[in-house]
């Protein structure tokens, strides 16, 4: 069973995409990302005041990790903002990958499906390889595929909630209806079992941040997630038995002892 898979033509070993935010320190971030075994790290751009040197230090820690970079457009509320951030990210990070976020509701940090489609279309025309952060709406995901997204990342639940997969049925339906798209559950994962569940549904990967960064021991939690993601994938590839409504004995009934004999 090969561990290699591809995303927009790039070969990856791990199915774990990890965020670089919210860690207690940059050193702990580095340890956790290394322990995760992730090949892909998400990061962002923000205004930087001249007085603060944090941006340069952060970048040095990221460079040391040697991972593929997936810059995001977090915090953007319009296609225009997201497009500008994507173009700046491409120049700075020298990658045409972009995790596209266009937020429609600040309370839920819920993606704006209309803005997402508009921005995705413009960015794909501009040569970007778009990783859209979407809701679990099947039709939205179909439209994103139609535009040329080879990867789609529906939410499990709202960002940072740790509620796991709110709607496994919707996620399964997307998997079933879009067999050729690389699907990652992005956001809302709280426990390794949530990540394992996503992989058992046939998702190609998981993107998460808070559940590792806010663990008491982030590096060990990263390892736990790595194992869960791998277990879920192996289970999916091995063929999970269908659930039944009634019991079926696992021990053979033929040759059962005397109390079953008339």
């Amino acid at each position: 069973m090969s561990n290699i898979w591809t995303v927009y033509g790039t070969e990856l070993k791990s199915r774990f995409f990890i965020g670089s935010a919210l860690y207690p320190s940059p050193e702990i971030m580095q340890r956790a990302i290394r322990a995760s075994g992730a090949d892909v790290i998400t990061l962002s751009l923000r205004r930087q005041s001249p007085a603060k040197k944090g941006g340069e230090q952060f970048w040095n820690y990221i460079k040391d990790l040697g991972c593929h970079l997936l810059p995001n457009t977090a915090g953007c509320h319009s296609p225009q903002e997201a497009i500008a951030i994507a173009q700046m990210s491409r120049e700075i990070f020298q990658t045409d990958w972009i995790k596209l976020e266009v937020i429609g509701d600040d309370y839920n940090l819920q993606p704006d499906p209309f803005g997402l489609l508009e921005a995705a279309e413009a960015l794909i025309k501009d040569g970007f390889k778009v990783f859209p952060y979407s809701t679990d709406d099947l039709v939205l995901c179909q439209r994103l595929q139609d535009l040329g997204c080879e990867v789609i990342m529906p939410w499990g639940s709202p960002i940072g909630t740790g509620k796991g997969l709110m709607n496994p049925f919707a996620l399964s339906m997307i998997r079933e209806r879009l067999p050729d798209v690389k699907l990652l559950v992005d956001a809302g994962i709280g426990k390794p079992s949530d990540a394992c569940q996503a992989m058992e549904l046939g998702y190609d990967g998981v993107l998460l941040n808070t559940a590792v960064a806010e663990a008491v021991d982030p590096a060990t939690m990263a390892e736990a997630f790595s194992n869960a993601i791998r277990a879920g994938r192996i289970a999916y590839e091995s063929g999970i038995m269908p659930a039944r409504e009634s019991a079926k004995p696992s021990t053979p009934t033929v040759g059962a002892p005397f109390w079953h004999q008339n």
Partner: protein
Amino acid sequence: MIQVSINNEKQTLEPGATVQDAIEAIGLADQSMLGVALNMTFVPKDKWEKTCLNDNDQLDVLRPVSGG
């Protein structure tokens, strides 16, 4: 003189000042990892010296930060 908002702070610059002048005016010495948008439109690095600013322009100068 013209007034330009750089990262949401007002700066007074000479008429004809460019994006490059504005970045230098706020003292960002290391420019290797900066991205710039003028009025929410991306300005590539090779255009910084040729792009002139106008009164009331909004310039965003961004650096890498952590993200999820």
